[in-house]
């Protein structure tokens, strides 16, 4: 840039660095602390950020192994963290796969087909999505209690029910995929139809393979969104072995049974993979977040 730099420019740069470093220390302190705490012996120990004595007891408990203390007591893992992680991954994977398939087909209709009330339907879907499910928890609870009376596999305390509950949140994904479909020339599908492909074949064999990148993005977005979902999961699931990670983690810090060290290990263990996925998908997640305002 051709801007003339003043003589106190160097001091300003140094000041900015100092400020940023102080801010980074404050910001990253909780994350560093939790790693340090997971390696510290005991659940109530205070200590320095770099632990003087490294103990793997919390990690063993988090991974589901018993720990024998110095005075011969056998400590069992307080909570089935790995089972919770598995529940979370299972629910998130199935829900995301279903979300991707139903939003893809809906997006195809909005992008390619002609039918009555097309834009009003799309707009009302987007509008509905502005009401978070947390506002209708009472109704959602009552709905799944009723469903469970007739179809037990989809009732309260079932992962099937939770997956089904997540299928309502498709509007933004439909919008994203539709936008991508519209960038693909319609002539390619028309050629396929001239060659004798049916409607569904043109969609499934011709359009979908070209849209794989956006489908992966939507899958990752849906996956991250469902794996960190807390309110709906917390009312549908109550039994210990059924919980997802998002619901279960809080039991480590209950008032009566405060397991700070064990929580730290479990948090690092389960948080790292999710954070990694999030960072890998950061670019798309961010563009998805801002889609509401800067649509062009």
């Amino acid at each position: 840039m051709a801007i003339v730099t003043g003589k106190n420019q160097r001091w300003r740069v140094l000041g900015a660095h100092a400020f940023l470093i102080v801010l980074l220390v404050v910001t990253l302190f909780p994350l560093a602390a939790v790693i340090s705490i997971s390696l510290r012996p005991g659940n109530f120990a205070n200590g320095s950020l770099i632990p003087r004595e490294i103990s793997l007891e919390h990690w063993k408990l988090a991974l589901g192994f018993d720990v024998t203390t110095a005075d011969g007591l056998v400590v069992h893992p307080p909570f089935p963290v790995l089972l919770w992680l598995w529940n979370s991954i299972k629910v998130a994977t199935i829900a995301s796969a279903l979300i991707v398939s139903i939003s893809t087909t809906a997006a195809y209709a909005f992008a390619r087909l002609r039918f009555a009330f097309k834009m009003p339907i799309l707009n009302s879907m987007l509008l509905l999505q502005m009401f978070p499910p947390v506002l209708a928890l009472v109704a959602i609870y009552a709905i799944f209690e009723t469903i469970g009376n007739y179809v037990p596999a989809l009732g309260l305390e079932t992962h099937g029910g939770l997956v089904v509950a997540y299928l309502g949140g498709v509007a933004t994904h439909v919008w994203t995929i539709r936008g991508y479909f519209e960038t693909i020339p319609v002539e390619i599908e028309e050629c396929a139809k001239v060659d004798g492909a049916s409607h569904f074949q043109a969609f499934f064999r011709v359009l979908l393979p070209m849209a794989v990148p956006i489908l992966m993005v939507v899958f990752v977005l849906a996956f991250v969104g469902t794996i960190i979902e807390y309110p709906v999961a917390s009312i549908l699931l109550r039994e210990e072995n059924n919980l997802t990670l998002a619901v279960g983690s809080k039991y480590y810090l209950a008032d009566q049974k405060y397991l700070w060290g064990d929580f730290a290990a479990a948090a690092v263990l389960s948080g790292l993979p999710i954070t990694a996925v999030f960072l890998a998908a950061q670019r798309w997640i961010v563009s998805g977040l801002t889609a509401g305002g800067v649509k062009e």
Partner: protein, 524 residues
């Protein structure tokens, strides 16, 4: 030549199967006494079959699952919540009137006046229950084996039984066959060891009366507690007290005003809303929670926006090195799942074991009670939420800054402007407009930031002297959750009414959001 169309056949077969299973389900729902629900299920299945079998609904084949998902799990819950807000649905009014009536009519008490003495006799490896018809002054089982044997002819006996476990069973009693010689009566102690099985047993007498276990020595008929009257009221048989259904209160109520538990669900009109405005005990905490919700959302947005934008401007400065590294590290709070980082803060702020108080104690010698003092708890909430929220605005502002033409800054440099002047005269005015709809949606998000409250403070510390527990750090959504799911009263109706109020606030914010976005689009 006509070949068999496999595809059509499979399609028809699947459709037929779906129709069958669907009809069975609809019938099951209908026979459970839920005609409206059955109608809804029927409509859903019918619509599905029509869409996938008719040739004219091509587009809807693609739309159906998505639209149905949204209707069932987003739109319907909203409407249903509004409806619940007009009822007294709560833990004391859980069932419909028909279900409460059926529940009461099923209640029975053992009729001890007509009880008959029983004993258990051994028959090989199995056991039989024996009943002795009543006769004044006659011999009893307790008179010993000989006494019992004398009345063998009058005795009624069951078929051979195991008398293990608690499985309910009904058996027919019949006179002992000619020449039946019971080898042994069980002692009372042995009989008691089979008590659970005996309790589950029902004995059908030759006159078709059914007897149930009424005591250690006796089986007796059970009598209904309630009688249904033609005018929908219920009369208790033992004291002839009549309770009439009161559809305003949702209770069966006697003439003297006594209410019968459980109550049932009825529409109460605007009673729940009236409570928000008129009930003094409720209005106080409700209003302060409302005010705190607005303050919390506004403070969170303002601080996150301020810090995020300042960092974006700073990191946009080309003289600064390592900008990508800074940006990546500063983005980290956003990448860690919220349910983990909020809980990490909950632990760090712990009064006795937390690291933050550890540092404060070492440096200033103080240990603030972050979770017990209302002001500190609220401060903590805003601090944590700012930590969680600033990276979002950092990313947004970074994107918007890139769109500002560089020559504007060159011109201002020529004019000798300072960095602050640059920010307030060039940068801020240019990014405010595209930011405004996002600021509104961030406000709406924090207005309903249930996860933060639920995991960090759970609304505590609570207000003192409130009938329904209410917390000083509760926001409206967490308060409704508390009323509905954590309080023992489980007042779903009241919670749903508050949720409905929030719907309208969210709708207003969404409307403002759309208006601002549309205005920006027109000007651009």
């Amino acid at each position: 030549m006509q070949s068999f169309d496999w595809k059509r056949a499979v399609g028809a077969g699947v459709a037929g199967l779906v129709a069958l299973v669907g009809l069975w389900l609809v019938f099951a729902i209908y026979s459970a006494g839920q005609p409206l629900l059955a109608l809804g299920a029927l409509a859903l299945i019918g619509a599905g079959l029509y869409v996938y079998r008719s040739r004219s609904a091509l587009a809807w084949r693609y739309l159906f699952p998505g639209v149905m998902g949204m209707l069932l799990f987003v739109a319907f819950p909203l409407v249903y919540t509004m409806w619940i807000g007009f009822t007294n649905y709560s833990s004391t009014h859980l069932l419909s009137q028909e279900r409460v009536k059926a529940y009461l009519l099923e209640q029975t008490v053992p009729d001890e006046d007509h009880s008959l003495e029983f004993s258990v006799i051994r028959d090989g490896k199995k056991l039989r229950v024996a009943i002795l018809p009543r006769e004044e002054g006659g011999p009893t089982f307790d008179g010993g084996v000989e006494q019992g044997m004398k009345r063998l002819a009058q005795m009624l006996i069951s078929p051979p039984l195991d008398l293990e476990g608690e499985k309910a069973a009904q058996v027919t009693m019949s006179p002992a066959p000619e020449g039946f010689k019971p080898p042994e009566f069980l002692s009372i102690r042995e009989r008691l060891s089979h008590r659970d099985a005996l309790r589950a047993l029902k004995l059908e007498m030759p006159d078709h009366r059914v007897l149930v276990y009424t005591g250690v020595h006796e089986f007796g008929p059970s009598a209904a507690v309630w009688r249904a009257n033609a005018d929908q009221s219920l009369t208790r048989l033992d004291d002839n007290k009549t309770y009439a259904p009161n559809n305003v209160e949702g209770f069966y109520i006697a003439a003297d005003g006594e209410r019968l538990q459980p109550g049932y669900k009825v529409a109460v009109g605007f009673a729940n809303y009236a409570r928000m405005l008129a009930d003094k005990e409720f209005r106080g905490p409700f209003l302060s929670i409302f005010v705190w919700t607005v303050v919390f959302a506004a403070l969170s947005v303002a601080l996150s926006l301020g810090i995020g934008c300042m960092l974006a401007v700073l990191l946009n400065w080309e003289a600064l090195r390592y900008r990508t590294l800074y940006r990546t590290l500063l983005f980290l709070p956003y990448a860690v799942p919220g349910f983990i980082s909020i809980l990490v803060f909950k632990g760090l702020f712990n009064q006795n074991f937390g690291e933050i108080n550890g540092i404060l104690d070492a440096v200033f010698g103080t240990k603030p009670a972050w979770f017990a003092d209302p002001l500190l708890a609220r401060t903590m909430m805003v601090v944590v939420n700012t930590w969680l929220g600033y990276p979002y605005f950092l990313v947004l502002c970074t994107g918007l800054l890139k769109a500002i033409p560089v020559d504007l800054y060159e011109a201002s440099a020529i004019a000798g402007a300072k960095p602050l002047t640059n920010f307030f005269k060039i940068t801020a005015p240019l990014i405010v407009k595209p930011l405004s709809p996002l600021i509104i949606s961030a406000f709406a998000y924090n207005f309903n930031n249930f996860v933060l409250v639920s995991l960090l403070t759970n609304g505590r510390p609570d207000f003192l002297n409130t009938r329904i527990p209410a917390g000083t750090t509760d926001i409206l959504v967490s308060y409704t959750y508390r009323i509905a799911f954590l309080d023992s009263g489980q007042n779903f109706g009241l919670a749903a009414a508050i949720s409905t109020v929030i719907f309208f606030l969210v709708a207003a914010m969404s409307y403002a959001n759309l208006r601002v976005a549309a205005r920006n689009a027109r000007r651009a």
